[in-house]
């Protein structure tokens, strides 16, 4: 080796590190965005990032592209640690060709995906890209498809997380869409298949990028985003926290935390959570917050399909996926959006050995033409399928209503629920007492007194957890204040649960 080579390495490294140059970096900062490398500094443990393919360049010769080459070609890839745990990352660099995806750029991404799968480590993608490198034509399209293919192969093998931190448009959206979670940043990120210009041309509808596919839209209307954050730093630091709920791959369990929050902690105030009048709502999130370790619940999709709550918490230090009906919204009914929201989450937990706690207060499926015509049959079936298929530990607590088919769906005993508990206020029945009586005793409908009498006797018989408990559908009836203790005990008992589904190529979940 010669001094020349050292100097060359030094120079090239310097070149690579400055990305698109100071002017473009300033522009990036001006929008409130960090650069690709700065983002990695925030995301990874200090000094842990190891870059790969720093010297990759595109090979395009059309449209004078051979004169425009920047080392790294618009994406920074590599590996490092988050809280000491190995992860692979790619971070698109908007300052280089607008972060556009060339064949070489795509190869860098597929390379880290492959390596991550080989060593069993999660992949985090930081997306900030104008789209395909148009100058490369079909080579760029091929690049996308190569990434999609790798994403699909990695799905269920290692966790994949996408953080959208700038534009992500056209075919590019489908890589994040296949990954397990999408996080976005308010105001500076957007995702859409066809952009505002196309919309304008085709439908004559004027719409801004933000209105079409901003973080607000995807976190509240479309359900595409799992979480949205104020800025780059919040998003990246929350990713660090989030990753600690997940195992590195499908062969491991999630990491455990040591906590001083006692498993036996009683929560007296839960005795008053469920109102005496069963038509009054209450906030299921309060139950979650009061029973998880240290009052810490990482909610996902908090603004979408709010009649269902999903997210991660810990019990006795162990990561648990929580699925809960929210009586505050649509009385906690299952509908299309909430079923799909929960189904995908349940399947994620099942892929990655994360136990599932299901909190039930569900009066049934949401009735109506919109739901039926929208396919609640096949959409609701997804949740049923997901719970039935899951082999991880499943603990269910029924706080109040568990009516009809929705009772079956919500991780019931019949769907291999491991521990199914109920509060004394639980009503496990085909339907509410009044409705049931009006069907069984149709001839008495005119007679108010008789109906009241019959309703009372139906309530006595079914508006409680006892007939379900008598059949063993409920393992125990617990006091609300003891919920945390019971959940912790159940999960501890289930820690070594093994259950195998029959071999098959893959099941055929109704999509």
């Amino acid at each position: 080796m010669t001094d020349d080579n050292y100097q060359r390495l030094h120079r090239m490294t310097q070149d690579a590190l400055q990305g698109g140059g100071p002017r473009r970096i300033d522009a990036q900062h001006g929008k409130g965005k960090l650069t690709a490398r700065e983002r990695l500094e925030v995301l990874m443990d200090e000094g842990s990032f190891v870059e790969l393919d720093r010297f990759v360049e595109h090979r395009s010769t059309d449209f004078e592209m051979e004169t425009q080459k920047i080392l790294g070609d618009g994406v920074v890839t590599g590996y490092g640690t988050i809280n000491g745990r190995l992860v692979f990352v790619f971070s698109q660099d908007f300052t280089v060709f607008g972060g556009s995806l060339s064949e070489a750029h795509a190869e860098k991404i597929t390379k880290v995906l492959e390596q991550a799968m080989r060593v069993g480590a999660p992949v985090i993608g930081l997306n900030d890209s104008g789209g395909a490198r148009i100058q490369e034509g079909v080579a760029s399209l091929g690049g996308y498809a190569e990434i999609f293919q790798k994403n699909v192969l990695a799905s269920g093998v290692v966790p994949q997380l996408s953080v959208i931190m700038g534009p992500c448009a056209g075919g590019a959206v489908y890589s994040p869409a296949i990954t397990d979670f999408i996080f976005m940043v308010y105001g500076t990120s957007y995702m859409f298949v066809t952009g505002p210009e196309v919309v304008k041309t085709v439908t004559h509808e004027a719409v801004s990028a933000e209105e079409l596919g901003g973080a607000s839209v995807h976190s509240s209307n479309s359900g595409v985003a799992d979480a949205a954050f104020e800025n780059d730093i919040d998003a990246l630091t929350m990713v660090r926290k989030f990753m600690y709920y997940l195992p590195s791959n499908n062969q491991e369990k999630p990491p455990k935390i040591t906590t001083t929050d006692p498993s036996t902690r009683e929560v007296e105030s839960l005795e008053q959570l469920v109102p005496e009048d069963s038509s009054r709502p209450y906030d299921m999130k309060l139950l979650i917050q009061k029973i998880v370790d240290e009052d810490d619940f990482f909610e996902l999709q908090p603004d979408f399909a709010k009649n269902m709550i999903i997210g991660f918490g810990r019990f006795a230090g162990e990561s648990v996926g929580i699925v809960a009906n929210q009586p505050m919204v649509l009385a906690g009914c299952l509908d299309i959006d909430s079923s799909v929201k929960a189904a995908r989450f349940v399947r994620f937990c099942d892929c990655f050995n994360i136990p599932i706690l299901t909190l039930v207060d569900v009066p049934g499926f949401l009735p109506g033409k919109a739901q039926e015509h929208g396919g609640i049959i096949r959409q609701g079936a997804k949740l049923l399928y997901a719970f039935a298929e899951a082999t991880v530990p499943k603990v269910t607590v029924i706080t109040r209503k568990a009516y009809g088919g929705a009772y079956d769906v919500m991780s019931s005993k019949h769907l291999r629920g491991d521990v199914n508990l109920a509060w004394p206020s639980a009503e496990i029945a085909v339907m509410g007492a009044k409705g049931a009586v009006e069907i069984i005793f149709r001839q008495d409908i005119g007679d108010e007194k008789k109906i009241a009498q019959r309703t009372e006797s139906y309530k006595q018989k079914f508006a409680n957890p006892y007939s379900a408990a008598a059949r063993g559908y409920i393992d125990d009836i617990i006091l609300p204040k003891q919920t945390r203790r019971s959940v912790c005990e159940s999960l501890k008992m289930l820690a070594n649960k093994t259950l195998q589904n029959p071999w098959r190529k893959h099941g055929n979940i109704p999509l």
């Binding site: 443990d45 809280n83 954050f229 104020e230």
Partner: protein, 656 residues
């Protein structure tokens, strides 16, 4: 002595009466409405009985329901607490007709003192100082002007049946007087069904000081000294103390002897309070007499060590007072703060909802918490939104204030808005420390309401160090890397960045800020809301709620957000810009939870600024929401009769 006492009240006062009754070995009965089925006062008593639906008029204010409850449970006495039926002559009368003892004064005294004009006459006759004025009803507006000129402006027009600021007007010239007369009599008629008004001298910068008396059935009357209750908002006391920092032994003596004379003149029996208004030159004038236990009675109990409820019970049972005036010693100083569910930033509008978290300090010889709720309780729209009373005691006034500040630091309430930080800020205010109190202090010092205590009230370095301690402890737990000896962090606040170094120390963490070292020793566990620590030898309690990358810290009435970053991340945080929040000005938002009574506009209607839009009722109060600019109603998002939550959009506007 009584066998069984029924407490015709709810909330903290019912719980407080039950405590004394139980100590005396008397069985207790609590009454409850449908809104209180899971309430603390119901659960505290030996037995409980339902008296009706949620609205007070159909339960706690319904004499028949309460009497029926007495008969059903066999109670031989009733303690009415304060408010509700405590000053209801007919109720007391009906009880005595049934041979049930009303623990309170005779109906004669209640009746006279319940009427502003009658009580003032009685006071004059008894030789009690009264506010210069016309001790009779004024006939009309011209009569009012004549009387006002005799007394000299400014004067106050007051409804004879009034209370709570309704039917009251301060006027300073003839014109205002005429107008005020019409408004006040109208309000009085609407509010009390009685439009009689009288006129008296308006005392500027007044203080409110009252004398607690006890009288038995044998003509013995004693004074338990005064309480100062000048700190008020919406004409309601929120901080009281005893003794008053304003009056001396001589004035105390004169006020007491007048109060005793007044009590004797109406053959008063039981506990009672004679309220005075005191001007800058320590002239005092009779305001009214409350013929019941007062909310703020605990401060008197602390400095006299006499249990007023016990004395009320003994007196009603026919016992003579066991002590003479000369036996009553006044020792130390006591302060009471009323913790209300309300919004100090929005004119103290009541806040309702479920109290999701409720942490208050343990009681001891110098700290008392009279609480009517527990974690999980509802603050309903039907009743007074008081959550609890915190009472402190100290050898000196300063000790009592310091002790109360520490109590408030340890009160954590979540789920409803509350005034705890406001109370801390008030106690920390120089005027309060100096004892420079008037009933107008809050209006003068907080004209735009209260949002946060002055940042100078707290030691920012201390708060930042505590936040860093918690952050590093939490991070260290999940950080798989080898622990570092020295950890560098930068605390990012809204207006500054502070660099810190943390070093693990056998005692805790040594936090260096600049050339200042703070040793933090604490047993704090991750997730605890209250951070108790000894920092540089000083004990502190700081409330900390987790926020993204840091903590929201509350201490001494101040709340600040502290974000903690690694130095490089802090450097990068300079590029983060404030994002515009979605434009909600196009909406009319409900400022409070309540019932939407009426919508006074239609879709497409053009509305001028200040015109009425909708009426929301909360806590029995109708609040009219008006347009703050010219708009067109684009969409109506609610219906009359809907329950609305705070900040719920009610109307959507569009620009013309």
């Amino acid at each position: 002595m009584f066998r069984k006492i029924l407490i015709a009240n709810r909330g903290e006062i019912a719980c407080r009466v039950i405590k004394t009754a139980r100590r005396l070995g008397i069985a207790t009965v609590s009454v409850y409405s449908d809104a209180d089925t899971q309430s603390l006062h119901r659960q505290s008593a030996d037995e409980s009985i339902r008296i009706g639906p949620a609205p007070a008029s159909k339960s706690y204010l319904d004499p028949c329901a309460v009497i029926a409850a007495c008969e059903a449970t066999g109670a031989d006495a009733v303690h009415p607490g304060y408010g509700f039926l405590s000053e209801n002559v007919a109720f007391a009368q009906s009880l005595s007709e049934r041979g049930i003892t009303f623990i309170g004064p005779n109906t004669h005294a209640i009746a006279i003192m319940g009427d502003k004009i009658e009580s003032k006459k009685a006071a004059e006759i008894a030789g009690v100082n009264v506010v210069p004025g016309f001790v009779d009803v004024v006939r009309d507006a011209n009569d009012a002007v004549r009387v006002a000129n005799e007394i000299g402006y400014p004067v106050m027009l007051k409804a004879s049946a009034g209370g709570g600021g309704k039917g009251m007007r301060v006027v300073s010239d003839d014109e205002e007087c005429k107008e005020g007369f019409i408004q006040a009599s109208h309000e009085a008629l609407g509010g009390f069904g009685d439009d009689r008004l009288f006129v008296e001298k308006f005392i500027e910068h007044p203080r409110h000081i009252e004398i607690q008396i006890l009288a038995d059935q044998y003509g013995n009357v004693v004074s338990l000294g005064e309480r100062e209750c000048s700190i008020q908002r919406r004409h309601q006391k929120i901080i009281e103390e005893a003794p008053s920092p304003f009056i001396d032994e001589q004035i105390r003596e004169r006020m007491s002897s007048q109060a005793i004379r007044l009590a004797k003149s109406v053959n008063y029996v039981s506990a009672g309070t004679v309220e005075f208004i005191v001007d800058r030159r320590r002239n005092f004038y009779f305001l009214e007499m409350n013929t019941r236990l007062q909310v703020e009675h605990p401060v008197t109990e602390f400095i006299t060590r006499i249990d007023l409820v016990e004395e009320m019970i003994r007196i009603s049972a026919g016992e003579a007072l066991s002590f003479k005036q000369s036996d009553i010693g006044i020792n130390g100083h006591s302060i009471e703060c009323r913790l209300y569910a309300e919004d100090p930033s929005r004119d103290f509008l009541p806040s309702t909802g479920r109290v999701n978290s409720y942490l208050v300090p343990e009681e001891n010889d110098a700290v008392r918490i009279d609480s009517g709720i527990k974690e999980g309780s509802d603050i309903s729209i039907y009743y007074d939104p008081m959550i609890a009373k915190a009472i402190s005691f100290g050898a000196s006034r300063d000790d009592a204030i310091d002790s109360m500040l520490s109590v408030l630091d340890r009160c954590y309430i979540d789920g409803v808005l509350h005034n705890v930080r406001f109370l801390s800020a008030l106690l920390s205010h120089q005027r309060f420390r100096d004892g420079d109190l008037t009933t107008t202090l809050i209006a003068e010092e907080y004209p735009d309401g209260f949002t946060n205590g002055p940042i100078d009230n707290v030691d920012i370095d201390l708060l930042v160090a505590v936040a860093a301690y918690a952050h590093v402890k939490t991070e260290g737990r999940i950080n798989g890397l080898a622990p570092q000896r020295t950890i560098k962090k930068v605390a990012v606040l809204s207006d500054r960045q502070i660099s810190l170094k943390l070093m693990a120390d056998p005692e805790g963490y040594l936090v260096s800020i600049g050339d200042k070292d703070l040793l933090i020793e604490s047993q704090w566990c991750i997730g605890d809301i209250l951070f108790f620590a000894v920092v540089g030898g000083r004990s502190v309690c700081i409330q900390m709620q987790r926020i993204t990358n840091g903590y929201r810290l509350t201490h001494s009435g101040c709340q600040i957000d502290v974000h903690l970053y690694a130095p490089r991340v802090a450097e990068l945080s300079q590029y983060m810009v404030e994002k515009e929040s979605p434009d909600l000005s196009a909406f009319l938002l409900s400022p409070m939870p309540g019932l939407l009574v009426s919508i006074n506009v239609e879709v497409g209607q053009k509305v001028k600024a200040t015109e009425e839009l909708v009426v929301v009722e909360a806590m029995k109060m109708e609040n009219t929401l008006r347009a703050d600019r010219d708009v067109v109603v684009d969409e109506i998002l609610v219906e009359a009769g809907d329950s609305v939550t705070v900040n719920q959009p009610l109307l959507l506007f569009r620009r013309e």
